[in-house]
């Protein structure tokens, strides 16, 4: 798991799993469709990513699909990191 994926995974475990919840979160674990993150609480993950990686994720990119796995979230972060670099 690369650094971004690990950071994202660790945040999800800390922010969303209740004490005693032994579910494993891998790169491909379904987060939203699997009921770990719901659309209501997704906002704090979005805010974490934007703050941590100094990026802006527009509303139309912050979809349940894009946030459904650590893998897809990592891809999203990389995409907007490139966009930030490109805009400088």
């Amino acid at each position: 798991m690369d650094e971004i994926s690990k950071m994202v995974r660790d945040y999800i475990v800390r922010e969303y799993l209740e004490e005693g919840d032994e579910r494993e979160v891998t790169e491909t674990t379904r987060l939203i469709s699997g009921g770990i993150v719901d659309s209501f609480s997704m906002v704090s993950l979005l805010r974490f990513l934007e703050k941590k990686y100094s990026i802006h994720i527009p509303d139309d990119a912050a979809t349940p699909d894009a946030f459904d796995t650590v893998q897809s979230i990592t891809a999203l972060v990389r995409r907007f990191q490139k966009a930030e670099v490109g805009s400088v």
Partner: protein, 419 residues
Amino acid sequence: MAFIDAVRNGYQTEIKGIRSAGLFKDERYIHSPQSSEIEVEFPVGSGVKKCINICANNYLGLSSHPDVIAAAHAGLDSRGYGMSSVRFICGTQDIHRELENRLTEFLGTEDTLLFPSCMDANGGFFEACLTERDVMIADRLVHASIVDGMRLCKAMQDTFKHSDMGHLEEKLIEHQDKRYRMVVTDGVFSMDGDIAKLDQIVQLAEKHNAMVFLDDSHASGFIGRTGRGTQEHCGVLGKIDVITTTLGKALGGASGGCVSGRRELVEMCRQRARPFLFSNSVAPVIVAGALKVLDLISKTTERRDKLEWNTTYWRGLLKDAGLDIKEGESPIVPVMLYDAKLAQDFARDLFDQGVYAVGFFFPVVPKGQARIRTQLSAAHEKHHLDTAIEAFKKVGRKHGILGLSKKELIARFEMQPVA
């Protein structure tokens, strides 16, 4: 546009998908007033069957109380059927203000504003009172109407793990840069029946300079020694900045809701809350009935005391029967089944045994958390509960679930794809 065949077919496919997923909800037609025993037509077109009702929000048994009905009749006669107006044009009668003042007194707040429903109160409050400079920090299991209301507001949204005070405190610290912080919670959570740690929430709110919003719809009238709700139960009467609650559950069961709390917050709703500004005034008949309800519950606590006895008794019966229930003190007692199809089959089989309860499954509760949500009423007598538990045991035996742990239940009924 015309509802052309392609559009119709598209929606029919969507509806078929809901059925295929085992998530379709059917209505049942009730041919009697709401009570501990009701007459039900299900499926549609079949004969009417008498059942014990164990799934209503009729906590104090006042939905069909003769004194409430008489007061409603008197209200119809003296104040008419409807106002045909929103409140601020020509929709406010003296009895609206009387009810608001009575609710203020009952809840121990500074002012109250009626809404057509608590759904509307929750829908309108946040947008009226908070801006993009503020933050709302909500328990993750707050009612859907609060989620909708928060989404309409430009303030930042955040959430904390259900009833996790450590996590709440982290969020309060994180958001100290905001103008106002508002902690948002239900008093009694509608799906699990657990009670918010409101005393700790108030403590944290005071420590970190935040307001507290409480939806007490499943508590007003019967939680707390005199039925003042979760704030009374948790020893924080008068410390909640805003309470929303409904007249559609314990407080009469018809309709209507309110925002009650700090004078300035209530005034902001009066001036700016869209459901208040753009929706019809609460009908006089409802107001008259609600005033009588407040009379009845302010004179004596016998109804909430009986409800408390029924709750303790019922919880004991379910546990002794070997059913998996969510622990708690409130009269909301979920019988956990986890699998959506099992919940539906169980409810149908209970109905065959003369007990009316409904299966709850996604999206009302998270996937894999299906249940039968039983709810007690002061209208239940002991014999109702003794009869109901025999039905639960019979159906439980039929499905082979009595005495099974959560793990065993889930393993036994792992969700299969539905053809």
